[in-house]
Symmetry: C2
Subunit: 182 residues, 2 copies
DNA sequence: GCCTGGTGTTCAATATAATTTACAAATAAA
DNA sequence: TTTATTTGTAAATTATATTGAACACCAGGC
């Protein structure tokens, strides 16, 4: 089961909503190069592949390591959460239906108008979070969604994503990133 | 800190004690290709790199993922083992001084004359074991070592290795492989 | 000494990847 | 509709990776 480099690149490019020309412009190669690679009509040099991936941005390691997982749920309502007991505390588990989870949880606070930055983030791994106060606007690929208190997300970090608090009150979320350190 | 493909390939090739010509013959490319790649005078095509790595054998993923760790101890005497208590049982931890361990332990039995096969094994990850009965001969790169009852090993799986029971009595070892499943 | 077989490197010729330029289909605006 | 823009693809050219055949070097045997 050799990896299909062309199809893989095409998938990643579309995740970023980039055309062959736009990606080639950012990568410093020609659109023909992208086209030929995606059709598997050439075996790109490491140089070229590295240039293309750097424009996404993505490392060679991530490119070869990433496994194309079947699409799973990205958003969860409160009733989709599973409650775990942990000593005296109680944890709400997000994405319990997803297999092979490997996450670490964080607590983040967003002031009104703040966000995760201009550009979308994309990297190998998984990322999840819960809104515990206020409202957060999440952009996932082309999909934009407002999550309110008690709602949650669970996405593949490869899908470009960004956060922004477009409301006028403070927003807090509990987020998790892979790989887990506890 | 871009990865030095040439140097990396050279290192792996030498771990297998292969000449450029021998590797090129197995990979189905010419010795010149190997030479130029190792000198970073060309950027190999994915096709070529894949062919070369397949002859080791090694996957593209492992090639780009592997981190060149500083050399650590490969062999341990009995007094180098750390004893762990686990309920009613007692575990002897091998390579306690090594950081970021991630192992799974097994129990293997070797009849006289048997071994792990002709060719040396090489893959990303770590591997460790303890001799609990008899004597095992371990070949690690060019180094050959006889381990007796109570002695142990902890090696990078990337370093080509093989086991063989050259004695006339049964040999048992407790081995461990990465990644861990418990 | 002179051989023989091994090593890694270099260079001209060849095979292939990347570019340049062009084309046709789809989309949007006038 | 017509015009302009953007999309992905294709052919010819250019650039580069790979090959094939040398080369110099080294170790061991005669």
């Amino acid at each position: 089961m050799a990896i299909d480099i062309g199809e893989r690149l095409k998938t990643i490019r579309k995740m970023h909503n980039l055309s062959q020309r736009e990606l080639s412009r950012r990568a410093g190669v020609t659109n023909s190069t992208i086209s030929l690679i995606e059709q598997n009509r050439v075996s790109p040099s490491i140089d070229s592949l590295k240039k293309v991936l750097a424009a996404l941005p993505m490392s060679l390691i991530d490119f070869f390591t990433m496994d194309m997982k079947p699409k799973q749920d990205s958003f969860f309502s409160r009733e989709d959460l599973v409650e775990l007991s942990d000593g005296g505390s109680s944890l709400l588990l997000v994405g319990a239906t997803r297999r092979n989870r490997k996450l670490r949880v964080l607590h983040e606070i967003y002031a009104p108008g703040s966000g995760s930055g201009e550009n979308m983030i994309s990297h190998e791994g998984e990322e999840s979070g819960v809104v515990i106060k206020g409202t957060i606007q999440i952009t996932l690929g082309t999909e934009v969604r407002d999550l309110k208190e008690g709602e949650a997300y669970y996405i593949d970090s490869l899908m470009p994503h960004s956060f922004r608090n477009v409301s006028d009150e403070e927003c807090q979320i509990v987020s998790a990133a892979t790989p887990p350190n506890f």
